[in-house]
């Protein structure tokens, strides 16, 4: 039974491996998206302290100790990831890891905060909602963190 299902899935898996929307790899768009997201969060944090109450940003403020430090960290990780995009063919795998892994760590923290909010049933600012509501709300950040991790691994393969 399992073998039959696997045999049916195999063509789809093989097609998925060669699937591409454009000539360019899509990992760069994920990295670009994450960088723009972090720059936007940094800008919003500088503009208003209220931005720090949102679940994905609140965890970062708690970890880095204040909204200014968080904004600075967000700008640094974004700029380093953007720098990677423009120096892709000139950097070693070690430099690649140092440029991308910090942003991945920040994204994972936000994603985990989203999962925790879903589990405990309320947002970081204390608003209580049903778990499907919170999960659907936090899903973009969680999926971005997962896809970013895959993009980092993909980038390390020539």
């Amino acid at each position: 039974m399992t073998l039959r299902v696997l045999r049916r899935c195999l063509p789809f898996i093989q097609r998925w491996r060669t699937l591409q929307v454009s000539q360019a790899a899509l990992g760069k768009y994920i990295i670009l998206f994450a960088s723009l997201l972090h720059l936007a969060w940094a800008g919003l944090l500088v503009a208003s302290a209220a931005a720090g109450d949102s679940t994905p940003v609140h965890i970062l403020i708690q970890v880095f100790g204040g909204r200014w430090r968080t904004a600075i960290v967000l700008v640094i990780v974004s700029v380093s990831a953007l720098a990677f995009l423009f120096t892709r063919h000139r950097v070693s795998s070690l430099a690649l890891a140092f440029l991308l892994v910090p942003q991945q760590c920040v994204l994972l923290m936000s994603g985990e905060a989203g999962i925790r909010a879903t589990v405990i049933g309320h947002y970081a600012d204390g608003v209580i909602r049903a778990w499907p509501f919170i999960l659907s709300d936090q899903m973009p950040v969680i999926l971005t963190a997962l896809l970013y991790s895959l993009a980092v691994l993909e980038a390390s393969i020539e």
């Binding site: 795998s93 690649l96 890891a97 760590c105 920040v106 994972l108 991790s149 980092v152 390390s156």
Partner: protein
């Protein structure tokens, strides 16, 4: 353990794993591309050797023809 520390530790752990994975895949990839370059070089050399063998055959034929011609001229005189 506070949830913040737990989340930070899990993120750091996963990032460290990714770091190690990038180093392993990066090294494998570098080795694979090096092997590909070597294979290309071997192919070039094989083509070069094949070309030289052909040229060698032509020169041997030319040599035999000239030797025959020389022998004939010695017999018959200039």
């Amino acid at each position: 353990m506070s949830p913040v520390i737990a989340i930070a530790l899990v993120s750091l752990g996963l990032s460290a794993l990714t770091f190690v994975a990038t180093q392993i895949t990066g090294r494998r990839s570098a080795t694979a591309s090096y092997v590909l370059r070597l294979e290309g070089r071997v192919k070039d050399l094989e083509n070069k050797v094949a070309g030289l063998e052909t040229r060698n055959g032509e020169l041997v034929d030319e040599n035999i023809r000239l030797m025959k011609q020389l022998t004939r001229e010695r017999k018959e005189g200039p």
